[in-house]
Symmetry: C2
Subunit: 206 residues, 2 copies
């Protein structure tokens, strides 16, 4: 995946690597870790039953080589992400305080490949006593693993995780045919509330 | 506003104040600033025309005493936020790298009161070449200032800001009667896409 592609904006800032190592605040639980967030958060009571041969864990820095982006590409446009961009995005997500990005993956133990992924993103607020709301994003299961209810597994994990994080609500966007699927996790179509969007990339639907 | 109310979660972490002062990475443009983000981002071409006697600026740490929370309370439940919680939330938003929270306010110059507010939140992604999507949140104008098109002003600012930040899309949720209002800024109801939600606080609608 070349050439390097960085997101750029006037406020995006890459600290000097040395000073980052010395000074960047990393949550104590992830300091020095290669997991995106403390893997102990995905305790048994959050993860529930996982089929034999699989495990649910946080995204890992090495998942660049383990098919995570290939799985995401079955959902929408991934574009070009070289290793440097990958590491920068991963570390910037990992460094958030309070923690904001909970990318969970399903790993096939034999192959160590990522075969499913889903993200809980928290938005920290002033409202609701400086609370947070959660959003479920980028839920996808590898085509080779469909029909095994891994989507159910991932969604169950994310709802339990959102509750544990203390969000006052969790939401997602889904197309018409997926409404019954998501209702099983407790979501309801918000009567009278509408999702409005405008796109600037000219082609994508996600 | 007492007693102190903190959001708490297993991963929320308050760094030691001294080490935070020395080490927390603050975007160069906001380092030492009391604005939430670099105020030069709200350049004339982003802000557009502002009625006499008002200005649009980033949220400021002193807005705790200038009516910002009172304005928000006209939108939804604010709850109890003491000064310590306020400062913690403000600084955690300010510290995000890449910048994530763009809370813009309308200030009445004579009174120095906040009379309107709106937030652009960025979610940083792996998809779309490690791009970002934007969301417009918590748009509200003080009841004393309604009818002056300050909601239009704030929404225009946020759409231009989102474009400048390079998001691949920007979205919002709104109730049925506000769809025509938001269409003027370029938003469209996403045909076949639905907003699903579940709430854990037992009462709120936002």
């Amino acid at each position: 995946m070349v050439p390097p592609v960085f997101t750029s904006s006037p406020t995006e800032y890459r600290p000097d690597e040395n000073s980052e190592e010395e000074c960047a605040p990393i949550t104590p639980t992830t300091k020095g870790s290669s997991f995106l967030f403390d893997s102990s958060i995905l305790a048994d009571e959050i993860v529930g039953h996982v089929p034999n041969g699989l495990r649910v864990r946080p995204l890992h820095i090495d998942d660049y080589d383990k098919g995570f982006l290939h799985v995401l590409s079955q959902l929408t446009s991934v574009g070009e992400i070289d290793r440097s961009s990958w590491e920068w995005r991963f570390r910037s997500m990992q460094r958030t305080i309070p923690s904001t990005y909970f990318v969970c993956v399903v790993e096939e133990l034999d192959s160590t490949r990522v075969v499913g992924a889903a993200t809980l993103v928290l938005e920290w607020k002033f409202i609701h006593s400086a609370g947070s709301r959660g959003r479920v994003e980028d839920v996808v299961v590898d085509e080779s693993m469909r029909g095994k209810k891994l989507g159910v597994l991932l969604n169950d994990v994310l709802v339990r995780l959102a509750k544990q994080m203390g969000v006052y609500k969790v939401s997602l966007e889904c197309n018409d045919k997926l409404i019954p699927f998501y209702e099983q996790f407790g979501y309801k179509k918000d009567a009278g509330n509408n999702f409005l969007v405008q796109r600037f990339d000219g082609h994508s639907k996600m």
